[in-house]
């Protein structure tokens, strides 16, 4: 899309108010969705709730193939489809809904840097644990990831798609230098990331003063999912639990924005 076309689209988006029937698509919650996709989806839901924008969550077995970028989750608003948190944040900003308008330049730079830290470390670690063959990770892959990912499809397509996905993720891990890592090194990276987030949060209710930003939504999505997802080992959740302020942070956001969901 050219710059002129992009500007035109954003103008149209800005002109139309947020509709009541906005929809967020994700894989099937009970049988199919994996840790990383669940985290990304929860981050988008948290962000939209923080903005006060209503959205209906719809689960589809083929959500990944419905998405324009092949990434999950994506939202369908009016006649537009937008996938992933970053573009969704830009899209809502065009409509006049933003959580980071109150930040100065340095704070905005820090917010974006920490968002990249979460994507670079937590998201990558989730993908590694789901798909990469290390002694323990293989267990997760065989018992959880492959069966869940391919659950909507019949044999032999189920096997083909699961292997294809695993191959894709492994190639990406090699490209970013994670191919040679052991599971312990991955857990160490998660600890390092959580400690960095914990230091940044300190005693504040949110990462930047008293109002949540997209960083808060992203961190909540990943940490809450890690804490509440059952894997073959609890090691990943234990690393998060070692930072008490992050636990309080997750509880606070859950109570504030997901009251109706908490059971």
């Amino acid at each position: 899309m050219s710059l002129a076309a992009e500007a035109f689209v954003s103008q149209i988006a800005a002109a139309e108010p947020w509709p009541e029937n906005a929809t967020l698509y994700q894989p099937l919650t009970e049988d199919q969705i994996l840790l990383s996709d669940c985290a990304s989806s929860l981050a988008v839901q948290a962000y939209l709730r923080m903005c006060g924008l209503p959205v209906q969550v719809v689960c589809r077995a083929n959500a990944e193939y419905m998405s324009p970028s092949g990434k999950i989750p994506f939202i369908h608003v009016g006649n537009q489809v937008v996938s992933e948190l970053g573009p969704i944040v830009q899209f809502t900003r065009a409509k006049g809904h933003s959580l980071s308008d109150g930040l100065d330049d340095v704070q905005r730079a820090e917010m974006k840097a920490y968002m990249e830290l979460v994507n670079n470390m937590l998201l990558t670690a989730e993908l590694y644990i789901q798909w990469c063959d290390d002694a323990t990770a293989a267990e997760v892959c065989m018992l959880i990831s492959r069966p869940r990912y391919s659950s909507p499809y019949s044999w032999p397509l189920s096997n083909v798609l699961a292997y294809q996905k695993q191959w894709e993720v492994r190639r990406k891990m090699n490209a970013i230098g994670w191919g040679g890592k052991t599971l312990e090194q991955v857990y160490e990276d998660v600890s390092q990331c959580c400690q960095a987030l914990s230091q940044r949060l300190g005693t504040q209710p949110y990462f930047f003063n008293k109002q949540p930003t997209e960083l808060d939504a992203l961190v909540f999505g990943h940490l809450f999912t890690i804490l509440t997802t059952r894997l073959t080992s609890t090691e990943l959740a234990e690393r998060v639990k070692s930072c008490s302020n992050l636990l309080s942070f997750c509880k606070r956001i859950e109570q504030t924005y997901f009251e109706d969901k908490s059971s």
């Binding site: 905005r108 920490y114 990249e116 830290l117 670079n120 470390m121 490209a175 230098g177 960095a196 230091q199």
Partner: protein, 299 residues
């Protein structure tokens, strides 16, 4: 990225013996950069090298608070996600830059015959890496991709510029690992003479980042800094005049040319070599002994 760990080693005061080689296959790991430790261990990834230096008590982040350490980690992630792909694109994928600068530089610095196939192979590897990083198998060089890459990179530079502000380094008066990483990413953009220099133009518009790179070059790489200042005053073509082992390469080129000319002369019949049979001075060996001897050899 070799520049990042060299800068880190300088900041931390680590005693490194620098050995410049133009053949990556002669490196202990088969790739460049590589660090051979005292324990005869070989490390290739800059992040692994920095971790090793830290374990050896050469730590440029020693004075950082816990929060500054966290910020450092976050901004390094920002660089990896936003600026690294744009650097790969600018040097390896953008056609004009690759042909006029990157391939030419490697072809002139790599030994024969590696200079014929290694640059192309490296380009394919970098394109594959970019495809995997962006999750797009059909990714090719083009206006759309370039615009997206450079937009991300420009945003990253703006964020770094805002974070640096009017300070000399990112955290106070002494450089840290973040400074090393930022310098390692920005110095090549600033100092390379690329035909398509959009990234360089944007970087030069951010005075504090430009000064940051220049200061580090002058303070920690004084010889390199002076050389780069000399080359900037020279015309564009002079960039490749100072080739290492120039005499040897000229001699080899002359030999190859001579060999080619002789081969051509022989093949076209310009020069012919006649075989003249002389009478045997000695009697031929006893044929009776040859048969059994050959049989033994076969058996």
């Amino acid at each position: 990225m070799a520049l990042a760990f060299r800068a880190y080693a300088q900041f931390a005061g680590a005693p490194l013996k620098l050995r410049k080689i133009s053949n990556p296959w002669r490196s202990p790991s088969g790739s460049l950069p590589a660090l051979r430790t005292n324990q005869k261990e070989t490390l290739s990834r800059p992040s692994d090298i920095i971790i090793h230096l830290r374990k050896q008590k050469y730590n440029a982040d020693y004075d950082l608070s816990a929060k500054e350490g966290a910020d450092s980690l976050a901004f390094i992630s920002l660089l990896e996600e936003k600026l690294t792909p744009a650097l790969i694109y600018a040097f390896w994928i953008e056609p004009k830059n690759y042909v006029d600068v990157t391939r030419r530089w490697y072809a002139e610095h790599l030994p024969f015959p590696l200079n014929f196939f290694l640059p192309g192979r490296m380009q394919r590897q970098q394109l594959e890496k970019l495809r995997l990083l962006r999750g797009d198998e059909s990714l090719e060089a083009g206006e759309e991709l370039e615009k997206e890459m450079y937009r991300d990179a420009a945003e990253c530079m703006n964020l770094l510029s805002q974070r640096l502000g009017s300070h000399k380094f990112f955290f106070g008066d002494s450089p840290s690992s973040l400074d090393a990483y930022v310098f390692g990413h920005l110095a090549p953009i600033l100092k390379s003479k690329l035909p398509n220099a959009k990234l360089q133009q944007h970087l030069k518009s951010l005075d504090n980042l430009t000064n940051f790179c220049t200061n580090i070059l002058l303070l920690y790489f004084p010889r390199d800094g002076r050389e780069s200042q000399k080359t900037t005053s020279q015309p564009e073509g002079a960039d490749f005049d100072h080739v290492p082992n120039k005499r040897r390469k000229q001699f080899l080129s002359a030999l190859v040319a001579l060999g080619a000319m002789l081969s051509y002369a022989l093949l076209t019949g310009m020069v012919s070599i006649q075989h003249v049979q002389h009478e045997a001075l000695e009697e031929p060996p006893d044929l009776q002994h040859i048969g059994p001897h050959e049989e033994e050899g076969d058996g």
